[in-house]
């Protein structure tokens, strides 16, 4: 459905900024595909190229078999796009926005109402309110409704859950599940690792490079890393003590604890606790954990950075 090969994009600056660096990607029809990466990883640039808003500098990309540069007008008829920033008309009401986007694609609200019904019903009580006066979650639902009103074959959602509360985020992913059942191919990007597990497959992207593409559970399971969770009241001191210590591959802060990856996959990590306690952190405890997607991402990141440095 979407095919990207050796795609590169640079922004002119001094020195030139590499937004996308030789990217390859294949997305199947009907797939819910996640693009996971931090801010500035190149997610939005990739979206803009695939939605024909930008021209790549190198490489080739096709959507539904059409080239994003030459056949842009064919692609634009069949895709739905929800940019990262709320881009509807703030001074038009909810229903006026929806009507406008329907006529933009030569269709009517009635024609495809079944598709947006579960989403639109939630904002219908506010249909005469101006879009600018909606809450973040409602704006997001309206934007999704507008992106869906012409029954697109492919849906591009650029960070749809950024700045949205936890409950709305959860609801949103349930809606995407529903859309997947309608046969719509969905490409969604997010900086939140916890949302990755909702996708069929995910690509980890960082600094314009794709680190790994796999189903989320596989990404976590494929890791053979020897990972230990460290807890202590003085978490920052612990981080300083452990960072760069022999036998430790990496230390990653995770909220109120540390995830410590050991270089040797067979070594027992309990020595960390003893070592920290000797250094004065008497409350330090450790336990072995299974790596999550975020761990995999961070580990790959640090190893690629070390690779670059050497």
């Amino acid at each position: 459905m979407i095919s990207v090969s050796q795609l590169s994009k640079y922004y002119s600056a001094k020195p030139p900024v590499v937004a996308l660096d030789n990217i390859n990607l294949e997305i199947e029809e009907g797939e819910l595909f996640g693009l996971i990466g931090p801010d500035g990883a190149g997610k939005t640039t990739l979206f803009r190229i695939l939605t024909t808003l930008m021209v790549p500098d190198l490489g080739k990309a096709t959507v539904m078999g059409w080239d994003v540069v030459n056949d842009y007008d064919k692609i634009r008829k069949h895709i739905g796009y929800m940019p990262g920033r709320f881009s509807l008309y703030q001074d038009l009401s909810v229903i006026e926005n929806l009507e406008f986007y329907a006529t933009l694609f030569n269709t009517t609200i009635e024609e495809n109402y079944h598709l947006i019904k579960p989403i639109y019903e939630q904002i219908a009580p506010f249909k005469d309110r101006r879009a600018g006066a909606l809450s973040g979650g409602m704006k997001q639902k309206l934007a999704l409704s507008c992106a869906l009103i012409h029954k697109p074959k492919v849906l591009f959602l650029d960070e749809p859950t950024t700045g949205v509360d936890v409950v709305s985020r959860k609801e949103f992913w349930q809606m995407l599940e529903g859309l997947k059942k309608e046969g719509i191919t969905i490409l969604v990007s997010t900086p939140y690792m916890d949302e990755a597990s909702m996708c069929d497959r995910i690509a980890l992207i960082h600094e314009g490079k794709i680190l790994q593409v796999a189903p989320p559970h596989q990404i976590a399971a494929s890791s053979s890393a020897n990972l230990w969770e460290v807890r202590s009241e003085k978490i920052y001191t612990a981080l300083q003590l452990l960072d760069g210590y022999e036998g430790i591959q990496g230390v990653f802060p995770f909220g109120d604890c540390l995830h410590v990856q050991l270089t040797d996959p067979t070594v027992d990590g309990t020595f960390i606790a003893a070592w920290l306690q000797r250094a004065g952190l008497i409350d330090a405890t450790v336990k072995q954990i299974q790596p999550g997607i975020e761990d995999v991402f961070l580990m790959q990141l640090s190893s690629s950075q070390k690779h670059q440095a050497s």
Binding site: R48, T51, T52, L53, M54, V55, Y72, D73, R76, K77, I79, Y81, P83, R85, F86, S87, L88, Y89, Q90, D91, L92, E96, E99, F100, Y101, T103, L104, F105, N106, C146
Partner: protein
């Protein structure tokens, strides 16, 4: 409903919902007309005149009385020596001093040629020439009344002499200038800003990812502002006709036709600006500094182009407002027909085609 209609409808909603901007748009021409009109009518009324009455006879007294009786002049006083006139004008006590020669009644009655001298403060050319005209009319009236039955050849003459500004330029009617200025502001500024606003807020990103063609986006932006421009022309014309009592001499249809053409020229200029910038602030700066200032300076209604050095005169040719001002001045004030303005119309038409071509070529089907 077609996509185009829906675009226009959306645009109209944008305009109507931005109450403050709409108020400024409609208020601006009204305020400008009132300001110009008020300033014009206020100053010519009750102008202070001093009379150097060297004759001091029956007829000169009667003339002074007649001048004082008119609503345009107040006789501030009668002086006996012309040497006092200079001080009066210099201090601003008098706007005009009339010198009545000795043996005024005698010479008049003996059919000799009598000359009245007018010393006018020429610092304000508009006022000075208006004052001269009014005084001449009063004097002619006086002559006809006192000597009318004698059926004499013109025996009494007024000789105006401008002080401080000898090369007095004729009076300009501001109404055509205001029309040109207002249309320029609204059509160029508002279209460019409204398009760039969509780019800035990301609306354009969504509109581009749709099967809609660029010319529909462009046209739909232009239509509401075209109508708004015509409404403003009507407001200005109504006000100048009924508030300032400036007659519209030419063909009204022709007047509207030329105005409509100029609105389209200005709109397409706004489109050009919107295609070369991505921020509202830049669009506003280009529209105001880049378009408004040259329009005021080279438009011909503030500063006469004939007085400018040659390079400036050449530059003024690329200002669309100049051609519009010439055309509308010919139609409205001079009452001329299409034949007189066809050259101006042709040039405006050429500008429009050029601007439309540039904006169509430069309209980006993608982001940046």
């Amino acid at each position: 409903m077609s996509t185009f209609k829906s675009f226009v409808k959306k645009e109209v909603r944008h305009i109507l919902r931005d109450r403050k901007t709409l108020l400024v748009l409609l208020g601006m021409p009204i305020v400008q007309i009132i300001l110009f009109g008020f300033a014009l009518s206020n100053e010519v009324k009750n102008t202070v005149i001093y009379v150097a009455d060297l004759a001091h006879d029956e007829m000169s007294a009667s003339l002074i009385q007649q001048i004082d009786a008119s609503k345009y002049f107040d006789v501030g006083g009668v002086i006996t020596q012309t040497s006092e006139a200079d001080a009066l004008l210099r201090t601003g006590k008098a706007k005009v001093v009339m010198v009545v020669p000795t043996r005024f009644s005698e010479d008049l009655q003996h059919q000799k040629e009598v000359t009245l001298q007018l010393l006018t403060d020429g610092t304000n050319p508009n006022l000075a020439s208006t004052v001269n005209t009014y005084l001449s009319i009063i004097v002619r009236d006086f002559r006809n009344r006192t000597l009318g039955d004698l059926k004499l050849p013109m025996a009494l003459k007024v000789e105006p002499r401008m002080l401080y500004n000898p090369q007095l330029k004729g009076e300009y009617t501001f109404v055509p200038g205001v029309i040109a200025m207002v249309l320029m502001i609204i059509c160029v500024l508002m279209t460019s800003v409204s398009i760039v606003k969509e780019k800035e807020l990301g609306n354009m990103e969504l509109v581009l990812v749709s099967p809609t063609r660029p010319h529909i986006v462009i046209l739909s932006k232009a239509i509401p502002y075209f109508v708004l421009g015509l409404i403003l022309v009507t407001v200005i014309l109504l006000m100048s006709r009924f508030l300032l009592h400036i007659p519209i001499r030419g063909n009204l249809l022709l007047l509207y036709g030329v105005s409509a053409l100029f609105i389209i020229t200005a709109l397409s200029l706004g489109l050009v600006i919107s295609t070369i910038t991505n921020s509202q602030q830049v669009a506003m700066l280009i529209s105001l500094m880049g378009m408004m200032l040259p329009t005021i300076m080279f438009g011909g209604f503030m500063f006469p182009i004939e007085n400018m050095p040659l390079p400036m005169q050449v530059i003024s040719n690329i200002i669309p407002a100049k051609w519009f001002y010439y055309a509308i001045n010919d139609i409205m004030i001079k009452g001329q027909g299409f034949a007189a303005v066809r050259f101006d119309v042709l040039i405006l038409f050429g500008f429009t085609l050029l601007f439309l071509f540039i904006s169509y070529k430069k309209f980006n089907i993608r982001l940046s």
